[in-house]
């Protein structure tokens, strides 16, 4: 080539390189932009979800209470046996002193400002402390749902009376109580410590939380050992042949089976064939265990696979038996992974609704279960029941229930992260 062509070649090469570089940079930039957009969308959606839930649910975390002075006369309540008093009369005495009324009908209406179960609150307080008999008992009684809503500003006073769920008279009564300083809005502990109720102001999650706890306990006790044993066998002992391949494929498929199918299975097998009680956390836990099992098997196998083969070789080379290799070396090393996977599997099970609906864990049950065989609801099914209820008070309680559920999920995931870091930090 002549001298003249050389610089041109160099130039073209430089231009080519520059073009390539620009292309590369642009591609890099695009990839990063896609990622950032995706994350923004995800975070945005999550934000909207949380925002709506908090907005809808925060009012359920407080509850309107009315302070009432109940005269406990020995005429109605026998100090020897306080449980058997004429509580209806005690309540109407207390309510009668709140506001003036013209007629017995009006007095009954006034009584409805308080929750329907007022007499039980009074009775429980007297039974707990019988010394008040003959004196006056002052109690903060939850207000009935419509007054709770009125107090929380969920009922617009400007709408015409006909379109409102509270009458002008009721508003007047409530305002008068407020002037007397009898209305308070403390934190709603009942949301956590009460069981379900027909009355929103009394409905709480304790039954659902207990039910979910029992169901998860059963689920864990079954799926964790069975899952680990199955995964260990498949990973460490099973010969690699068509049968184990088939089992592996099936386990992977099971993990993807819609949860409602497990519910049907539970209904057909546990309830109809084994005759276990309906709505029981035991059955719920069994069904959830079926669902969680494939997840635990898969994460355990992955955790076992991640243990470096050199550790196994070292142990075998020392003359450790297969059992010793697994128990002394492989399982301890894979435990962080197994635990994390298990907790995430359990968190999934906690939020699972469909299978529990099929085995009847959406029944209306007003006391927490005393054991795994007693009928109960679970958190997600309780939310489902509330979401289906017409009363205004249940709308906010539905959101509050979801927030509580998400709180538990968050807690479980935090535990998973904590455990993993704790166990992995050792070496």
């Amino acid at each position: 080539m002549t001298d003249a062509t050389l610089p041109t070649q160099v130039q073209t090469a430089a231009i080519n390189r520059a073009r390539l570089r620009n292309k590369r940079n642009a591609a890099d930039f695009r990839l990063r932009a896609y990622g950032i957009t995706a994350i923004s969308i995800a975070v945005g959606l999550l934000g909207i979800l949380l925002f709506t839930l908090v907005l809808g649910g925060y009012s359920a975390f407080v509850q309107t209470h009315i302070r009432v002075d109940f005269p406990i006369s020995a005429e109605y309540v026998d100090p020897a046996d306080p449980a058997e008093g004429n509580w209806r009369a005690v309540v109407s005495d207390g309510v009668g002193a709140l506001l003036p009324s013209d007629s017995p009908a009006q007095a009954r209406q006034i009584a409805q400002i308080l929750t329907n179960n007022t007499q039980f609150f009074v009775r429980n307080a007297v039974v707990a402390d019988p010394s008040v008999i003959g004196g006056t008992l002052t109690l903060d009684i939850p207000a009935a749902d419509i007054f709770d809503q009125l107090n929380k500003g969920n009922i617009d006073r400007n709408t015409p009376e006909a379109n409102r769920r509270v009458t002008d008279q009721q508003i007047e009564w409530f305002d008068s109580l407020q002037e007397q300083g009898r209305v308070s809005t403390p934190f709603n502990w009942g949301l956590f410590f009460n069981a379900d109720s027909r009355f929103p102001e009394l409905a709480g999650l304790s039954g659902a939380i207990t039910g979910s706890f029992y169901a998860l306990l059963v689920c864990f006790l079954i799926s964790f050992p069975v899952g680990i044993a199955a995964a260990t066998y498949l990973e460490e002992f099973a010969p690699k042949n068509r049968w184990t391949d088939l089992i592996e494929v099936n386990i992977n498929n099971l993990a993807a089976v819609p949860s409602i199918v497990f519910g049907l299975l539970g209904l057909a097998v546990f309830l109809q064939i084994f005759g276990l009680p309906r709505s029981a956390p035991l059955v719920g836990g069994l069904v959830l265990a079926l669902m969680t099992l494939p997840t635990i098997i898969i994460v355990t196998r992955n955790a076992l696979k991640a243990v470096p083969p050199s550790i196994r070789e070292a142990a075998y080379g020392m003359g450790a038996s297969p059992q010793q290799v697994i128990l002394h070396h492989v399982l301890p090393l894979s435990l962080p992974g197994i635990l994390t996977g298990t907790i995430i599997g359990l968190a999934q099970a906690l939020g699972e609704t469909a299978p529990l609906l099929l085995i009847g864990m959406n029944a209306f049950i007003t006391s927490p279960p005393g054991g795994v065989l007693e009928a109960s609801t679970a958190l997600p099914t309780q939310i489902y029941i509330w979401a289906d209820s017409p009363e205004r008070g249940f709308v906010s309680r539905t959101s509050a229930g979801i927030l509580v559920l998400m709180g538990f999920l968050l807690l479980m995931n935090a535990v998973a992260i904590f455990l993993r870091q704790r166990l992995e930090r050792r070496w």
Binding site: P308, E313, A314, G317, G319, A320, H329, L333
Partner: protein, 274 residues
């Protein structure tokens, strides 16, 4: 090429004790063939491993050195597709006998791997593990004694005596390999198999380990796989040359390196194959 032979000449000066004790056979392979599935990796190998000697296995990559070594303590059992035929004996006992306990065999024939692989446990636990699972110790004092003496024999004790409870994985590569040697000799094996124990180490760590091998020979029978002719010449009394799954030549190390009978052996040690 000349430089290499000269170098060898200097390292191959026979030590007086090498010829004094008549060798006895610790392990013996008779017509050993190994298959990985349908693929045959070893073809009818006959080799005697002499007691209190270092035997080195040399040969180009893929010739079956590791395969032979691993069949000596049945580590090949852990590979599903692997099949061994022929006879391998330890003190005259067939190690592939149905009634023989593999666990016990591996306690008697220890192994050190190419890459240092201490357990992710403390230095102490690493060494104590073998004696514990083989029921060689019952008290804490016994365990401690065996740990300390093994670490001493492996030439590691002075370096780690203040941090026996720290993780073994926190040591340097050379220290880790010596820890693995300590771990292997803690079970007091008769034979110690080493598969390229120095290939992951720098020259200084290598020198330490070579020295160690020479000392260990007093108490153990050692089989070592190595890619370094110099190493084979320095540490071993007997050398076996493998090529394409066949044992081509074996004999006193000095003879193999100075006077190989077989053309292939000659080519390999001259650096023409491999």
């Amino acid at each position: 090429m000349n430089a290499m032979t000269e170098n060898k000449g200097s390292t191959l000066v026979a030590k007086p004790d090498q010829v004094v004790i008549p060798p006895t056979v610790a392990m013996k392979g008779e017509d050993v063939s190994v298959f990985y599935g349908a693929k045959q990796a070893l073809f009818g190998v006959n080799l005697e491993i002499e007691r209190n000697r270092v035997t080195s296995l040399i040969g180009p990559s893929g010739c079956g050195k590791s395969t032979f070594l691993r069949s000596l303590n049945r580590m090949n059992d852990t590979i599903d597709i692997c099949r061994v035929t022929g006879r391998i004996t330890l003190d005259g006992e067939d190690i592939y006998d149905k009634n023989l306990d593999v666990v016990e065999l591996r306690a008697r024939v220890g192994m050190v791997f190419q890459k240092p692989n201490p357990f992710p446990k403390s230095i102490f636990e690493n060494v104590a593990y073998g004696p514990k699972i083989h029921g060689m110790v019952s008290t804490k004092a016994e365990t401690e004694e065996i740990v300390v003496s093994s670490l001493r024999k492996a030439g590691l004790f002075e370096e780690v005596k203040d941090r026996l409870n720290e993780p073994g994985t926190g040591l340097s590569g050379g220290q880790q390999q010596r820890l693995c040697i300590a771990r292997a000799i803690a079970t007091k094996p008769e034979v110690l198999l080493m598969d390229e124990p120095c290939s992951a180490l720098d020259p200084i760590a290598t020198a330490i380990i070579e020295e160690l091998i020479d000392e260990l020979r007093e108490n153990f029978t050692i089989v070592i796989v190595t890619h370094s002719m110099q190493q084979a010449a320095r540490v071993s009394q007997k050398t076996a040359f493998f090529h394409l799954g066949k044992l081509i030549e074996e004999g006193v190390t000095e003879d193999i390196f100075t006077n190989p009978v077989n053309k292939q052996t000659q080519d390999y040690i001259m650096g023409r194959i491999g």
